[in-house]
């Protein structure tokens, strides 16, 4: 792999390349960015066809973008393609929206937060904030005064969402481009709607009953977590990670802990590693049960929802005993765990594994075999493997399309290398596959828990770090597999007690992008079910 990468990198013109723990940083000039991206994407040796994220940066004197890339065949390789511009008035880079399907949303996000324009991308609407928001919040010189941006009294004007903004002076007299075609019948779906799984606003154009185009509108729960992280100390940002994707809160928190531990080179005791892994897997089961129940409820089966919640409560009971919290376990700390496990923990977990196996069979009988459910799910919402990679749909959705993207296997962290399990793959890419793979993953999670719970080593549960944690200067990336896919934390430190920049890679954002690509051509009644099968969590998208 190393030789192959050398060959690819030699094709890049005027690039500075450095390597640290399988993370390759390539710095190119602004003019060469597009060419470098094309080379990485389209070469014949190693194709970097998975754009994980675009990270906007404000280096105080200049603005920059970082493209986080991986080849789909070997996800352990990460390439950070960096570029900067000194122009703070009109910063602009060339677009890559035609190279990766995931790029348009990411570019809009960077534009929203940093005011960086992507030349060639016509859709430069704000993605999270209102179109009439003043200033770019993640810039270091942003003024957060409520006088500049008071609480709005009126709903956002839908015309400002409908028409793309004018970017150049020469276009100012021309007719503004519209998202939908003229005469399209557009239905607003959300933001307050029980089936959107949060506050998502979809604008859907219809041809009779058939969906023509979906235009998602985010930001109804944008809390500015990344900006809050910049004024918080390291142990203070842990609880914010919980509140991103609250259904896999413990896993997200684990990721942030690991990134910080990597930075300060703190050895986590094995006892903590084991317990963290078990808690992560319990969280995953709880999330999948809710996802299963909510999807069934979206299709009209309320019984399934109640059954799913009933089994989930068993996990909540275990959490209450050991962590004190229910949904927000707040259990991982920098260096280990908040406190030791409850004496009953192992007994309860083992009882739960037996119980869950029994119930899983019941769930299959209740819903999987149901001819009505199968009729609705089979052959609907096809996502191909190439699409999944290009959009960056990781997690159960990517694996249901046949893409092996399980971080637990590719880059084992915590105690995952101590357990035997298979990362379930399905080839179909249909709604039914996305439904079925979650139940299979519950089974695999039970296997992991079963193997680890009896072997929790004795010893300390936490390695105490210094009271004030200071990360050495540099960039830290940590990926974990949360219930929705590849959740990455990017921390840029300048050696201070506050991080300089924190970026969370949301697996849910790409899932809405998936919806945008698979919904057209389906019936409007199936839109809700497709959303249920993707199981996105909106606060994770909006951050």
């Amino acid at each position: 792999m190393f030789n192959k990468l050398e060959q690819v990198f030699s094709q890049l013109a005027n690039a500075e390349i450095s390597n640290k723990d399988n993370v390759y940083t390539i710095v190119v000039a602004k003019e060469n960015l597009r060419q470098a991206a094309e080379t990485l994407r389209n070469n014949d040796i190693v194709r970097f066809d998975f754009l994980r994220d675009i990270i906007g940066m404000d280096y105080t004197d200049s603005l920059g973008v970082i493209y986080n890339l991986s080849p789909s065949e070997d996800l352990s390789v990460i390439v950070l393609l960096e570029s900067r511009t000194d122009d703070r008035e009109n910063p602009a880079f060339d677009t890559v929206e035609d190279l990766w399907l995931s790029a348009p949303f990411y570019e809009r996000e960077v534009h929203d937060f940093f005011g960086i324009r992507f030349l060639g991308n016509p859709d430069m609407r704000r993605i999270f904030l209102r179109q009439d928001w003043r200033g770019y919040p993640l810039r270091k010189d942003y003024d957060s005064s409520p006088i500049i941006n008071p609480i709005p009294l009126e709903n956002e004007d839908l015309d400002s969402l409908e028409y793309l903004p004018v970017l150049d002076l020469k276009d100012i007299d021309k007719e503004r481009k519209s998202v939908f075609d003229k005469g399209d019948f557009v239905v607003n779906f959300g933001p307050q709607h029980p089936a959107t799984h949060g506050v998502l606003h979809l604008r859907v154009s219809l041809d009779g009953e058939v969906i023509k185009k979906v235009d998602p509108n985010f930001g109804y729960i944008h809390r500015g977590i990344e900006k809050i992280c910049e004024v918080s100390m390291y142990h203070q940002i842990l609880h914010l990670a919980d509140r991103l994707d609250y259904l896999s809160g413990s896993i997200n928190r684990h990721a942030v802990c690991m990134a910080i531990e990597k930075g300060i080179q703190l050895e986590v005791p094995p006892r903590a590693q084991y317990v963290r892994t078990i808690i992560d897997e319990l969280t995953r089961i709880a999330s999948h049960l809710l996802g299963w129940g909510a999807m069934a409820m979206d299709m009209g089966a309320i019984t399934a929802f109640v059954y799913g919640m009933r089994d989930r409560e068993k996990i909540m009971k275990i959490f209450e005993k050991t962590c004190g919290g229910r949904l927000m376990a707040n259990y991982s700390m920098i260096g280990g765990l908040m406190e030791d496990i409850h004496p009953d923990f192992q007994k309860d977990v083992k009882e739960f594994v037996v119980y869950m196996r029994k119930m899983l069979r019941e769930h299959h009988i209740l819903f999987t075999g149901n001819p009505i459910a199968r009729g609705r799910m089979e052959g609907v919402g096809h996502l191909t493997r190439e699409q999944a990679i290009s959009i960056g749909a990781t997690g159960p959705v990517g694996r249901a399309s046949g893409w092996q993207c399980d971080v637990r296997k590719i880059e084992p962290y915590a105690a995952y290398d101590k357990a035997e399990f298979t990362a379930v793959l399905r080839e179909g890419g249909m709604t039914f596959d996305r439904y079925y793979i979650r139940l299979d993953e519950i089974e695999e999670s039970l296997k992991i828990i079963e193997q680890l719970v009896d072997n929790i080593p004795e010893g300390p549960f936490c390695a105490k770090p210094k009271p004030i944690v200071k990360l050495p200067e540099g960039e830290y990336i940590q990926r974990v597999e949360n219930a929705r896919g590849d959740f990455s934390v990017y921390i840029n430190s300048r050696g201070d007690k506050f991080p300089y920049r924190v970026k969370f890679r949301s697996p849910s954002l790409v899932l809405v992008n998936v919806l945008k690509h698979i919904a057209p051509g389906n019936k409007i009644a199936d839109l809700i079910m497709l959303g249920g099968s993707l199981d996105y969590v909106i606060p994770c998208i909006d951050r």
Binding site: P191, G198, Y220, R223, G224, I228, E313, P539
Partner: protein, 194 residues
Amino acid sequence: MTTADFKDNEYLEQYVEQLREGGVNVAIAKLDDIINWGRSNSVWPLTFATSCCGIEFMSLGAARFDFSRFGWEVTRNSPRQADVVFCFGTIVHKMAPVLKRLYDQMSEPKYVIAVGGCAISGGPFKKSYHTVMGIDQIIPVDVYVPGCPPSPNAIIYGMLQLSRKIKVQEFFSLPKQPKVVEHLDNPIEVVKYV
């Protein structure tokens, strides 16, 4: 004539006494008590959940906690049919007008329960540039349930507080006009980003 004028009910008691002596079984009560008994035990909430607390709301509806014991289980998706809006989760600038509109669409008498730290005061997002620091800046709140997120037990306790509040109201003298809230009467602390 207002409801408060009907305080002297002595003649009613005498009348009942006479009837009882004649062998007729009669019970008297205030209409308010009966109506409020009914109202406080069948409050229909609006399904309005923006983030984490919404999951605890789901738990509340499911088997272990089961809020249908208190007659709250008829969740409505339209604000026009709802009595109470449980505000589960953070309200941000973009969502604020939506919440206000939902509240305005509800018919009187209507109640608001702010669940969780975010809805009460901004909670963990106090330093944010985009969070509304407490929904009482937009709509009037009847009951606050603290926690991040509060456990379903706490939410049940909050619900019962609202029940108590409804029981002591005089139904016939409830305001006909919707309550008006002064917008942003308390100044917000400005956070300086370094």
